[in-house]
Symmetry: C2
Subunit: 84 residues, 2 copies
């Protein structure tokens, strides 16, 4: 059993209206040292695979097929073995 932590972020240069809105909100709250905010997604996936190789292959496939939009997003993930 593994836990995959998947991070999906917008590619550099892709407009990020959500990030801009959050930046505006933070500055209005007085956090005037904020220079830039980029918003992304984070997934924690428990996967029942025996080997790290199989788990990595499966999670890579999930990112390619569902979790990330490869046109505008990048993804990365890390795997950690867990018991149970």
């Amino acid at each position: 059993m593994f836990v995959a932590r998947v991070y999906v972020t917008l590619k550099t240069g892709v407009n990020d209206p959500q990030g801009l809105t959050i930046k505006g909100g933070l500055q209005q709250l007085g956090f005037d040292t904020v220079e830039d905010v980029r918003a992304g997604k984070f997934f924690e996936i428990r996967i029942n695979e025996e080997s790290k190789g199989h788990a990595s292959e499966a999670v890579g496939g999930m990112c390619e097929q569902l979790l990330a939009n490869k046109v505008i997003e990048d993804y990365r993930f890390e795997l950690q073995p867990v018991t149970g």
Copy 2:
């Protein structure tokens, strides 16, 4: 200048309909070893502070006041110094 990577996740026990939907989608795609999916948010924030202490204090404040809903979400962040 620092970059803060902020991870906001639902607390254990809080319903996660987005995660359940993603889990269903992955299983329909044939990823039948998926046991559980939890969805969260990820922010990358560039902050113009001189010291790590000040940056940490500011980012903690941002999480408390805007980025996380403390009733149902947990947050954690890491800081990395950057140049420029």
